[in-house]
């Protein structure tokens, strides 16, 4: 075994560092900074550092798959605090889907502005009542006079405040069987038939939006793939999403914050970190955090060698969720009466221990977003362990 990235990667790293040192020197603010960043990203694409999986003709750098280089890029951009790719559903989910299933015209029209951040995409899958049974969507689309007329409601759209466009699962074939009645449509959110509303979460913050469609329209050719094939096309997308969830560094960082909290908080007149029961609880969490970290190393190493890491990939999401619960409960114990204080609104949150309330509730949001833990356990049991499917869970 060997955790180093190899000599070739270090040469690449040195070149990248040079590039960043010379090219990433932001001085301005406001719009000037935005323009500077846009120009910087274009140069970084030119050098092959960003949008490596996207063909050059659509604004990518079209590089061969190399997870080691990708990792070096993440590390060095983070080190230089330089902006990486425009994030979000557009680049993570829609672009790969268009590359695989879109028409030439769709690729030309949508990919570049998405990569440059001009188009911000909301995901339109969930509806009130769908939950894990996404194929039960009811938002209707009818083709009338050369355009789709859309009526219904979508929910749990992240980036909903800024979204300019949406990719959505729409029931266009009411006569077809459940899964076969769905199409994958794109639409412009800036039109009179679309209303958006923030969803306030239990933390008090609004991370998600819901969208109401009242005779909203979209051109007939803004459909990805064939009519009735939307379900299959969305599955491709979801795979991208799952692969991007879960970061070893994130958990490790959270754990170190938890240790800091235990040092700051005093219980019975001494720092909590000195209490043996707290030390043990921290140690139990740390065991899981390390298990997660080295599992992500395994996955990364397999990806670099183009091998299959096996069942562990099915488990990362659940692992993160469960560790999040453990940390939340421990944080709650550490907080003591500090939990009685509501933290201020986002952006103004102070550095007081009460800010942990967000994490304590957020750990519950984790188990809901992107498939509940029950669905995760079904997947591990059925796809991972080969146990027979429960016929009741088939729609």
């Amino acid at each position: 075994m060997d955790l180093s990235y190899g000599a070739e990667a270090e040469v690449f790293r040195a070149q990248l560092r040079d590039f960043l040192a010379q090219r990433w020197r932001p001085a301005d603010k406001g719009q000037a900074l935005k323009d500077y960043i846009r120009a910087f990203r274009r140069d970084a694409v030119e050098q092959g550092y960003l949008y490596r999986g996207v063909p050059q003709q659509y604004g990518g750098s079209e590089q061969p798959v190399d997870v080691i280089r990708a990792q070096v890029i993440r590390e060095e951009f983070a080190r230089a605090r330089a902006p990486m790719e425009v994030g979000g559903n557009g680049t993570n989910m829609l672009v790969p889907t268009l590359l695989e299933c879109g028409t030439e015209e769709q690729k030309e029209r949508f990919i570049r502005p998405t990569l440059e951040g001009d188009y911000v995409w909301g995901q339109g899958y969930s509806e009130p009542g769908t939950g894990s049974d996404l194929a039960s969507v009811r938002t209707k689309g009818e083709l009338r006079d050369g355009e789709w007329v859309i009526n219904g409601q979508k929910i749990w759209t992240s980036q909903g405040r800024d979204a300019t466009h949406m990719f959505a699962l729409i029931r266009t074939e009411p006569a077809a069987a459940k899964h076969a009645g769905i199409s994958y449509l794109l639409l412009d959110l800036k039109q009179p038939g679309v209303t958006r509303r923030p969803i306030r979460q239990m933390t008090g913050e609004s991370g998600f939006y819901e969208f109401f469609f009242d005779n909203a329209t979209t051109p007939a050719d803004w459909i990805v793939g064939e009519r009735g094939k939307g379900w299959i096309i969305s599955r491709t997308t979801l795979k991208h999403e799952r692969a991007s969830i879960g970061s070893a560094d994130g958990l490790g960082f959270q754990f170190s914050k938890l240790v800091e909290l235990a040092k700051e908080i005093h219980i019975d007149g001494e720092p909590a970190i000195l209490k043996p029961a707290i030390r043990q609880a921290l140690g139990r969490v740390e065991g899981w955090v390390l298990a997660h970290r080295y599992s992500s190393y395994r996955i990364f190493s397999c990806a670099a060698a183009n091998e299959e890491p096996g069942n562990i990939t099915l488990m990362m999401k659940l692992l993160v969720t469960e560790i999040g619960h453990d940390m939340a409960l421990l944080a709650q114990e550490l907080l003591g009466e500090n939990i009685l204080l509501e933290p201020g609104p986002a952006g103004t949150r102070g550095r007081g221990p009460e800010k942990w309330l967000d994490q304590i509730m957020g750990s519950l949001g984790n188990s809901i977003a992107g498939g509940t833990t029950n669905i995760q356990r079904n997947i591990i049991g059925e796809r991972g362990l080969g146990l027979p499917r429960d016929p009741g869970m088939r729609a």
């Binding site: 939950g131 894990s132 709650q332 204080l341």
Partner: protein, 359 residues
Amino acid sequence: MQFHLSEEQLAIQDSLRGTLAETVNRDVLHALVDSEDDFHPASWRSLCELGLMGIAVAEEAGGAGLGLVDAALAVEVAGEAGAPGPLVGQMLTAIALSRCDSSAVREQYLDGVVAGDSVATLAWNNAPEPGGWEVATDGVTVTGTVRFVQAAHAAKLFLVGTVGGGMALVAAGEGVEITAQPSTDRSRKMAAVTFANAPVVHAFDAGSPTVNWLFNAALVLFAADAFGGAERCLEMSVSYAKEREQFGHPIGQFQALKHQLATMALEVESARGLLWYAAYALDSNLPDAQHAAAMAKAHISDRAVSVARAAVAAHGGIGYTWEYGLNIWFRRAAANAALLGSAAQHRERAAQMRESAGA
């Protein structure tokens, strides 16, 4: 032997439940939660009219002549409803006044507190026993700050915890300043109260049996609130699981969720007797009353936190929204677990009691 509820007790709970269904209905509760108010006069009035504030005060002192068990049953229902108002403080101040040895003080204050016209609240810090209270007193005035006082803006009387485990009854006004605190528990918002040589209406001796009894009673009553909240979380989750369909079936049919709900039910239902016993033991001055109060607070507030978490998970996305309202009980559960000391602290206290009882 009687260790189940009498018809009278069930009737009190039913009638309270009915009242709160109106006066703390969904709209009222959500409006309160979204406001900065720490008190809701209309619903408070409805509780007062049921005679709840003096439920555990002797009849000759103007109360209902019932006991802490009955008080706990009422607080349980208030917890279910997420009712605002300093119910625990009011009930305990009424008892404290009814036991106070100054007839002048009783005459001046008792009726108003029993009736609920004079709102009374606890100004104890969250030390796990009276010995940890910190407001200084010379018997005539009190000085110091107590954070996390419920309904402080509405309160006419504060039952203040003083250094060494005494208590002082202090009237709102001169030398009493209130600073609102952003509160996690949006249904019972809290404030910091600063006493600066505030005059004492009546002082209860440090370490006196009355003070200790009232502290233990408070532990039991906050456990009762937590218990009621846990019942509410369970009930909302079970209803949701019966109504909501996925893959063509009510989700409550799926074994994984069914078992999660069964586990929640086990946590809730098995705690009921412990709550009753802790209240009964204080009513009867049993030797293990203080141990039972500590264990009830520790065990039941833990269960409520656990059940509130499980309830959010059982609901999926909708449970995570502000509008659905589960978070009201989630936050209240977190508060009940933190008020008057943590579960860990009370478990440690109970262990010491067990040891000094020779077990």
